[in-house]
Structures are given as structure tokens and as C-alpha cells.
């Protein structure tokens, strides 16, 4: 079988590698490798209304909407925070006209969720795992007929609606939902076509 595209990021060392693009979508946000055990990489939002930021591959979309997997170990502070980690064709995973398949950590939800967009509409399917501030391992599998979210080793959501219709790239997006600082961290990301 021919090798397909495969990407791994450990988020360790001096700073974020330059093959990531850091994007201040709104406000001035802070991107930094964290100097602590298991700290990984962190984005801290600015304190302006809906300040938000992403790291992504700047639209170099190498992963299939209907045949890829993205795995991440990430967390958020659950203080008026929205964090989406997975695959996307846009840095600002916010509205319509976006293709994405992400693990969603959104303070306004009760549970962690699987959130997808099909270039027109975005919707989410909640899991039964209550939001917290711990690291979790998310695995989002984009298949030809559905998208699955496995959280910490257990299948927690399957979604057949509003699935992406175009190729995407690894994306870690976060922002504040009000005018206070929000913080999100990531220490592992892997993406591959299946």
C-alpha cells in the first residue's frame, strides 16, 4: 500500500516550529511553549471581546474530508473559552462557509463535543463527558459516510450531518467568549490520510 500523508507534532523544544502559521484572528493573543512538566504549547487569548487565534498550516490542505484521522492531546481552561482542535480549511473556525471536523471544548456547552462544518452549516454532537480542564486525547476519524469522535479511548460521538466537503489541514483554534483572557494548551497532534 502506498504511503499516505502523515504528520506528527510533539510540541516540545524551544518554540513552535515554523511550519505552523500563527494567526491572530482578533486581538493580540500570545503563543508560547510552556516551561512546565507536560506543558506543551499554549495560546492565551487577548482580553478584548471575542479575541481569538489559531495555529494551522495556512491552508495547505493535505488531509481528505472523507478519509483521514486527526489525534490530539489538548485542554482548555473552561473560562468563557471556545477551543476547536482537528482539521479545518480555515483558521477562524467560527461561522458558515467553513469545512472542518474538530473536537470541541466550548464553555457554553455542558459536554465535550464533535463539531463539524460542511462549507455552509456547522453543527455539533455532544458526548456524555462533562467539560473539565484536564488534558484529553481526542481522535476524529473522517470517513466516507460519517465522522467519529473517540475521547480517551472510547467512541463518544458519531456524526453524519454537515460533514466537510473539501480537504483540510491540522488546526488548533481558541478564543475567549467574552472580554476575559482564555487559555488553551496542546501537547500532541497527529494527522494522516487513511
Amino acid at each position: 500500500m502506498a504511503y499516505k500523508q502523515h504528520f506528527i507534532e510533539w510540541f516540545s523544544g524551544k518554540q513552535l516550529p515554523s511550519y505552523w502559521t500563527k494567526v491572530d484572528i482578533s486581538g493580540t493573543n500570545t503563543f508560547a511553549m510552556v516551561d512546565s512538566v507536560d506543558g506543551g504549547f499554549q495560546i492565551t487569548s487577548g482580553s478584548g471581546a471575542y479575541n481569538r487565534a489559531s495555529i494551522w498550516f495556512n491552508g495547505k490542505n493535505q488531509y481528505a474530508h472523507d478519509g483521514s484521522t486527526v489525534i490530539a492531546v489538548s485542554k482548555f481552561d473552561n473560562s468563557a473559552n471556545r477551543t476547536f482542535v482537528g482539521l479545518s480549511d480555515i483558521a477562524d473556525i467560527a461561522g458558515v462557509n467553513d469545512n472542518f471536523a474538530t473536537f470541541s471544548m466550548l464553555t457554553t456547552n455542558t459536554y465535550f463535543s464533535l463539531r463539524t462544518g460542511d462549507d455552509t452549516t456547522q453543527t455539533l454532537t455532544e458526548t456524555d463527558i462533562t467539560l473539565d480542564t484536564s488534558y484529553h486525547c481526542s481522535k476524529v476519524e473522517c470517513g466516507s459516510s460519517d465522522i467519529k469522535l473517540t475521547l480517551d479511548g472510547q467512541l463518544k460521538a458519531t456524526k453524519t450531518t454537515n460533514r466537510p466537503i473539501a480537504k483540510m489541514c491540522p488546526t488548533f483554534h481558541m478564543g475567549t467568549l467574552n472580554s476575559s483572557t482564555a487559555i488553551s494548551s496542546i501537547r500532541y497532534m497527529e494527522a494522516y490520510n487513511t
Binding site: D35, V37, T194
Partner: protein
């Protein structure tokens, strides 16, 4: 067959801890991940080797205390990005001294809180050689308070060959070379602060510029 590296490294349901892997191959050192600097004594050189299995080469100036090192901070006295636990982590590298023990007061590699060529300071666990002591490969642990009470020879006479080194940090520290356990520390005088992968040189008054090469580093929390 799984296609996920994650699933190969972690049992199902495990939330992976920090890991770091460096292969030292390519056009140049990945300076997003590493700082390659000297401490101000002489002019060090850093180069990817154009030879089979050559890895990356660090050379200090041929002068007393000539220094050079790799870490994750841009200044010699600054703290690295310290992702690895003093009580639950592993450091692995493939490393060789390129010059005789007599060329350097210290050639060291392992975990440390700062880039150091002299194997000193606080919070480190290192393999090293030292022209002032023996011609063995040695181990040294610097505790959180700077104690170097855990400082010993291994059984191996220092040579200029590649070796695989492993440091396991737990309630005791275990040092292995080429798969053979060479030293187990007591439970005292151990690091108390987080650490990062480092390597470095502190030169002697030898006329030969001391150097080492490194072609693999892997670290992870357990």
C-alpha cells in the same frame, strides 16, 4: 493494522504525556526546537555532518573553558523549556565524543534545567567525561540544591564510538549505556525541578578543539 503512531506508543485510553524526538538529520539544526550557543568563551561551531550516520557536531574553541552546547533557551544562563519531570521521565540519546577525554573538562549530555557545558548547576542528570577525573564515561546528578553527591564512573572506558545512552528518572535514577545498566542512584540528592534535553562542552587547555556528535534524542514523561 493501525495507522496511528499514537496508538502504537500508547495503550488505548491513555492520555499521552510530553514526548520529544529529534533525529538530527537534514540541511541544518532545527533552531525552532534547539538553541545552539556558546557561553562566551571562544567561538563554537555547530554543523550537520555530511557523512553516513554523522548526525550533528558541536565543537568548542581550543581554549580553557571554551564552551558550546545545545538546549532550548537562547541564553547560556537562561532556563530551558522544561517539559520533563524529575520524578518520572526518560532521556535517550545516541552520542559520541569526537576528541579524547583530555581535550575537555567536561563533555556532557542528558537532562538539565539550563544549557551547561560544565556539568554543574542545579537539576540535571548527565552522562559525561572529565579530563580531571578518570578516562571512564561517568554519570553525574545535580540535585535541586546543586549537590553533586551522585557522581561516579561507569565501567566503560571512554572511547570515540557511538553509544546509546539512557537515563531513567524516578525515585532513583538509572543510567544505562548500550543497554547495560551502569549506575543506580540512591534516593537522595536528586533533581527536584523540571528538566529538558541538553548537551555541552567545557574545554580544557588542550590544543585540540573538543567536540561531540549527536544523532538521536528522545525524551518522555512516564
Amino acid at each position: 493494522m493501525t495507522k496511528s503512531i499514537y496508538d502504537q506508543l500508547n495503550a488505548n485510553g491513555t492520555i499521552a504525556k510530553q514526548r520529544f524526538v529529534e533525529n538530527f538529520s537534514g540541511d541544518a539544526l532545527d533552531t525552532d526546537r534547539w538553541s545552539a550557543i556558546g557561553g562566551g568563551n571562544g567561538t563554537p561551531t555547530f554543523a550537520m555532518a555530511d557523512e553516513i550516520d554523522g548526525g550533528f557536531k558541536v565543537t568548542a574553541a581550543a581554549q580553557d573553558n571554551g564552551d558550546a552546547g545545545l538546549g532550548s533557551n537562547g541564553t547560556w544562563d537562561g532556563y530551558n523549556i522544561r517539559h520533563f519531570s524529575p520524578t518520572g521521565s526518560v532521556y535517550i540519546d545516541v552520542f559520541k565524543n569526537n576528541t579524547a577525554v583530555s581535550t575537555a573538562k567536561s563533555i556532557c549530555h542528558g537532562f538539565g534545567e539550563k544549557i551547561r557545558g560544565d556539568s554543574g548547576g542545579n537539576n540535571s542528570a548527565l552522562f559525561r567525561t572529565d579530563t580531571r577525573q578518570t578516562v571512564k564515561f561517568r554519570v553525574r546528578i545535580c540535585s535541586g540544591a546543586g549537590s553533586q553527591a551522585n557522581d561516579a564512573d561507569t565501567s566503560m572506558t571512554a572511547d570515540l564510538n557511538w553509544h546509546s545512552y539512557k537515563i531513567e528518572c524516578d525515585s532513583t535514577y538509572k543510567f544505562s549505556i548500550d543497554g547495560v545498566l551502569e549506575y543506580t542512584s540512591p534516593t537522595t540528592n536528586l533533581p527536584t525541578g523540571a528538566m529538558a534535553p541538553i548537551s555541552g562542552i567545557q574545554g580544557s587547555s588542550s590544543a585540540t578543539a573538543p567536540s561531540y556528535s549527536i544523532k538521536y534524542v528522545e525524551c518522555y514523561n512516564t
